[in-house]
Symmetry: C2
Subunit: 157 residues, 2 copies
């Protein structure tokens, strides 16, 4: 349950790789293309391309066309949150269907629903978790994750 899609997985791998190349010690500032990532991680080429297109459309990376072209991070690694990446691919975070109801829309169970409020608190906790974790935290070192539990007890790491 709560599994993220393959595409989101690929997006995380790709961004991690791009960041590693771009800010790494070997060839800093180098542009990295789709084929390189696909071969490195055994990802279907055309599918990865589609993922990167989406990321570019959401201004997480910049695309440079033509030979010697490829992708570049649009921002610094610590300014790109995991939440932004996942939401770019899979749409806004929503544990329940009624999470983002506009005015006038109701689910059929809304009137007597007792589980909406607690579930929204769970959702907020997960949102905080994903928003407080950046691409930088995925680079090399061990990240520090903090989560605010709705049961008013902090859970660490």
């Amino acid at each position: 349950m709560l599994k993220i899609s393959k595409k989101a997985d690929y997006a995380l791998m790709a961004l991690q790789h791009i960041a590693a190349v771009q800010f790494g010690d070997v060839t800093p500032g180098r542009v990295v293309n789709t084929k390189e990532i696909a071969e490195e991680y055994n990802i279907p080429l055309e599918l990865l391309a589609k993922v990167l297109q989406t990321l570019a459309k959401n201004a997480l990376i910049e695309s440079h066309n033509g030979p010697k072209g490829g992708y570049l991070l649009a921002r610094r690694a610590h300014q790109i949150t995991i939440a932004q990446i996942l939401e770019s691919i899979e749409g806004p975070l929503g544990i329940t269907d009624c999470s983002h109801e506009k005015d006038g829309e109701f689910c059929m169970q809304r009137e007597n629903c007792h589980i909406r409020t607690p579930l929204l608190k769970v959702q907020d906790s997960i949102a905080q978790l994903l928003n407080n974790m950046t691409l930088q935290d995925m680079m090399g070192g061990t990240p520090l994750i903090t989560i605010q539990s709705p049961t008013a007890q902090g859970v660490e790491r």
Copy 2:
């Protein structure tokens, strides 16, 4: 993204309702059948039945057959965690595909995968969150219109 299925939603509603009836003030200990829940929350009857069957198979509720039959909570509300409910319906928690790899199974990206470890930490945080929240925390009735009672607040343990 990270949306739980309708069936899981229905499971939560049903269990909340059963708990409310069973430990409520009106008719404590009463057995509640599928039809009652389906009508109360506008859930497709046959689908809800399937959900309740699964919950019974996982020993979260007890099924009593025949006329005047129905379902009963197998344990106290505070001993049933949200994680147990969701996992009964949707299977074990797994953010990534490689979360529960047995020995010998590897995803194609495993060798160079830099995102596995951080993602597993995210997964652990969510697991703790869901394990620390019980069905009891969903009781206390904060539906759509009612005012929150300071004593009967939904999300404290």
